[in-house]
């Protein structure tokens, strides 16, 4: 429990502003000619936004490490799904015939 005395506004407003700014960048990037980096930029920005929401709005910052573990568990386990799943798709062509 983080015990705030009075209503704390500032960190939340700042976080909101940063989130909106990042979102603007994401929209802008859609019109840039960056080829295959589109998904990288878009999902990179989304991940940053998610981190800010987690840390500030969901107040993960200041929670015990156990909460961090569970907050991260889902994302971490998705790495298993993506990592090993895409390992198949990335190498589907099979062996070249001799």
């Amino acid at each position: 429990m983080s015990g705030a005395g009075r209503l704390t506004l500032r960190p939340y407003i700042v976080a909101w502003a940063v989130l909106v700014l990042l979102f603007g960048l994401s929209v802008l990037s859609a019109y840039l000619d960056i080829g295959v980096f589109h998904p990288v930029v878009n999902f990179g920005i989304a991940a940053t936004q998610a981190a800010i929401i987690l840390l500030v709005f969901m107040r993960l910052y200041g929670h015990p490490s156990l909460t961090w573990v569970f907050a991260g568990a889902g994302f971490f386990w998705l790495l298993f799904l993506f990592g090993l799943g895409l390992a198949d798709y990335a190498t589907r062509t099979g062996f070249p015939t001799q």
């Binding site: 429990m1 015990g3 705030a4 009075r6 209503l7 704390t8 506004l9 939340y12 407003i13 976080a15 909101w16 989130l19 909106v20 979102f23 994401s26 929209v27 990037s29 859609a30 019109y31 840039l32 000619d33 960056i34 080829g35 295959v36 589109h38 998904p39 878009n42 999902f43 920005i45 989304a46 936004q49 998610a50 929401i53 987690l54 500030v56 709005f57 969901m58 107040r59 156990l66 909460t67 569970f70 907050a71 568990a73 889902g74 994302f75 386990w77 998705l78 799904l81 993506f82 799943g85 895409l86 798709y89």
Partner: protein, 214 residues
């Protein structure tokens, strides 16, 4: 109601609150996996058919999607401020902020509905009315399936969130929460922000595709 005793299995009210929050975090981990499946399917198909996904993404409503991002980000802000207000026992303020949160959520749903209508008019709804635009092939339909399933599941989550927030607003108005006891509100807040996070990722997956820069 302000001096509550903890439930039988807990030693203190603080333990009860922390336990409820931990429960929500664990639930969110399961939700991440739930949505993760959709994103995995999306990734596989997009990597297989990048060109087709670009073509399909071009037909999505970027403006409406963007407005919805702004709405949800703002609603997360009002939500967290509501929790703070409730902890300070500013009941009216808390209830007002919660009502604002719910209103933003409803606005999101409304815009989403309008967007679905536009998609329908653009003949982009698989099965119901779907035509391939010039250059499009089968995989574009896969894109639109992802779009409707993912945004649909998200909208269901958001609707549940709106109901929960309204209940919290009612309870806050009646002065149910205090510094010592506000666990339900915290838990609903976590859920609400999580639904927001999902939308942030959905936006990145759906709307920026196929806009000018190739």
């Amino acid at each position: 109601m302000r001096s509550l005793k903890p439930q039988m299995q807990f030693a203190t009210l603080a333990q009860q609150t922390e336990t409820a929050q931990l429960g929500m975090w664990v639930f969110i981990a399961t939700e991440v996996m739930f949505f993760g499946v959709l994103f995995f399917a999306y990734t596989v198909y997009r990597a297989s058919y990048p060109e087709q996904f670009r073509l399909a993404g071009h037909d999505t409503q970027l403006l409406l999607g963007s407005i919805n991002v702004a709405i949800l980000l703002t609603s997360s802000l009002t939500m967290v401020l509501a929790i703070n207000a409730a902890r300070e026992q500013r009941d009216r303020m808390a209830a007002g902020l919660l009502l604002a949160t719910a209103a933003l959520g409803l606005a999101f749903i409304g815009i989403k509905g309008y967007e679905y209508l536009l998609d329908y008019q653009a003949q982009s709804v698989p099965r119901l009315d779907y035509v391939f635009k010039p250059g499009q092939g089968g995989p574009t339909e896969l894109f639109w399936m992802f779009y409707f399933i993912a945004t649909g599941v998200h909208a269901i989550h958001l609707s549940i969130g709106i109901v929960l927030v309204l209940i919290m607003a009612w309870r806050a108005r009646r002065g149910a929460f205090s510094r010592a006891y506000h666990a339900p509100l915290e838990v609903v807040g976590l859920y609400w922000s999580f639904v927001d996070i999902v939308w942030v990722f959905l936006f990145a997956a759906i709307y920026p595709l196929g806009r000018g820069g190739t």
